[in-house]
């Protein structure tokens, strides 16, 4: 377990490893991290606003069940948002309380601040090249999160305040792979624990995309314990309801009537989810990257329509891009496809930003669009797919790595066999005591190869 990168597998070393399933259920199936501005599809699956918008742009299908869906049918999932914020608020406390003490390195060294940042997670994207360099060179994996840890020191406030739902695909790739690794380990760990088969849905998801995973459907999380606040109607934990209601009466939350009605649960998150912001510490540029959350009326008004590729004239696409201050090739060198793709990505970023708890300013979004496009343009076709790709040489070059993996795999098979045998022999070994070893593997994740060209 790496204390800097909270992960569902953290729970495996606690006395209630099942919380791992709960935490996984509160994570987006696309980016594998806690939901950012969760929205539900018409088939009832919940994803981060930006994740699902990008998916639907690409395929028009729900990534989980492959049902055809449309961006216009997405609805904010306030319940999931509320459960998530309640969960993240008590996560550290639970982890500290439930961790098995015999572990040499219990994960309680986590700073409360780090914990909050985990909530804000992959949100930050820095346009600052220096920061990016730091990320790419120092933190080849999980750079994003570590960057957040370092942010207050290395970059002042520019990373101090989170930028939500706005990471570039490169970051997503990074974070995704790192988060996958954790899930992979979950699976393997649960794999030989017959009691936990039900929580093993990550595994199934890959093999059987058609099959729904009930534990991920927003209806199933335990909601019965939440009590509506008599003042604002938001759902709260029973223990919290008293203090929450008091704050409501004192008017500290001062929700606008419209937010109150339509946006009930989501806005209540902000006090929990946002790190305490001391404006004296934040340089001006960072502060101006954000704006206040959009109200429901604003959202309705500002929401961009996707449009239709064949029905939209090329000139109109250019016009719409230019209106938003997005770079368009004046001479018309860019193909309609290229500028359409840009407009689609802009629409995704923009609409997801409307859902965000901490929306960015338009300028910040435009800059982000440009950065992510630069990343994509600089990308060449896969070396692996290349006909010139020399398999044998690759195999030779990575021979030791492969051999280590094989040796390791064989060792594990053997270990599992022994465990299985001892388990069947009536010796009920507690598989929950296994995680420390797994944890070591998480810590030891090698950095992915980064090839610069």
């Amino acid at each position: 377990m790496d204390v800097n990168f909270p992960d569902p597998t953290d729970w495996l070393s606690t006395s209630v490893p099942g919380i791992q399933a709960l935490e996984t259920a509160l994570s987006c199936q696309v980016c594998k991290e806690f939901f950012t501005a969760p929205v539900a599809t018409s088939c009832g699956h919940t994803f981060c606003s930006l994740c699902i918008r990008r998916c639907l742009s690409a395929t028009q299908k729900c990534p989980t069940c492959m049902t055809t869906d449309d961006e216009s049918r997405l609805r904010k999932n306030t319940l999931v948002q509320d459960i998530l914020s309640s969960f993240t608020a008590i996560r550290k406390q639970m982890l500290d309380g439930l961790v098995i003490k015999e572990e040499p390195e219990p994960p309680i060294t986590k700073e409360p601040e780090a914990e909050k940042k985990r909530v804000e997670k992959r949100s930050s994207y820095d346009f600052d090249e220096e920061i990016e360099e730091e990320e790419t060179t120092n933190n080849k994996r999980r750079g994003k999160r570590r960057k957040q840890e370092e942010a207050p020191v290395s970059s002042g406030g520019s990373s101090d305040r989170p930028r939500r739902s706005t990471r570039t695909s490169s970051q997503r790739t990074n974070s995704k792979i790192s988060s996958q690794t954790a899930i992979v380990i979950d699976d393997s760990d649960e794999d030989f624990n017959p009691n936990e088969i039900n929580s093993d849905n990550e595994f199934e998801s890959g093999s059987r995309p058609k099959r729904g995973r009930p534990s991920r459907v927003p209806e199933t999380p335990p909601t019965t314990n939440l009590v509506p606040c008599p003042i604002c109607g938001r759902l709260k934990e029973p223990e919290q309801i008293q203090s929450h209601a008091n704050r409501c009466i004192e008017g500290k939350r001062s929700p606008s009537p419209s937010q109150n009605a339509a946006n009930a649960a989501s806005s209540s998150l902000s006090p929990l989810k946002r790190p305490p912001i001391s404006f004296s510490n934040i340089p001006k540029p960072a502060a101006t990257q954000f704006r206040a959350p959009y109200t429901e009326e604003e959202k309705q008004k500002l929401k961009l329509a996707k449009g239709n590729f064949t029905l939209t004239k090329e000139a109109d696409i250019r016009k719409r891009l230019r209106e938003n201050g997005i770079r368009v090739d004046v001479k018309g060198k860019e193909s309609k496809n290229a500028i359409w793709a840009r407009l689609q990505e802009w629409t995704n970023l923009w609409n997801a930003n409307l859902d965000s708890e901490m929306p960015k300013t338009k300028q910040a979004l435009v800059k982000e669009l440009e950065t992510s496009e630069r990343h994509q343009q600089s990308q060449k076709p896969s070396v692996v797919q290349d006909k010139e790709f020399a398999r044998e040489e690759w195999g030779k070059d990575h021979r030791t790595e492969y051999e280590n993996m094989i040796a390791d795999a064989k060792m594990r098979v053997l270990k599992k066999k022994n465990e299985a045998e001892s388990a069947t022999n009536g010796d009920k070994t507690d598989t929950a005591s296994e995680p420390p070893r797994m944890t070591a593997e998480v810590n030891g994740i090698g950095s992915p190869e980064i090839i610069e060209t």
């Binding site: 998916c55 492959m66 890959g206 692996v384 398999r391 790595e401 190869e449």
Partner: protein, 156 residues
Amino acid sequence: MSTTARRRLMRNAVIIGPADTPFEDGTFRLVLHFEEQYPNKPPTVKFISQMFHPNVYATGELCLDILQNRWSPTYDVAAILTSIQRYESPFYHPRGGFLIVGWTATDGIRSSGAVTLLNDPNTSSPANVEASNLYKDNIREYVKRVRETVEKSWES
């Protein structure tokens, strides 16, 4: 490194052939390449080891629907590897690769309905015609040829 620096994510992986199949105990090496568009675009997957399988081209490329038209952004490396091999359990390898080790599912859930390759070749549009024909017409010879690749996988 500038902002325009290209970052490619390459992963090495090993799949151990599923038990009770001709591929049993084989240690097949793969490489996965993730592009910027991942997960909206599937990674490129290639066998480094030589394979004799109806759905694997001579170049090592796989013909697997979830890596093509049935790709979903929810798939991660574990899902991909388990689709390639049935009855297995994925592990992350500390040295930077994923691996799958032989593990027979006892729960009876995992194995059903999975789209798998090593265990369940699809011979309708073969990537390797010879393997496909032998699989259909001369299973004994097919098994023999597969076992040859298995033995070869131990050496290299």
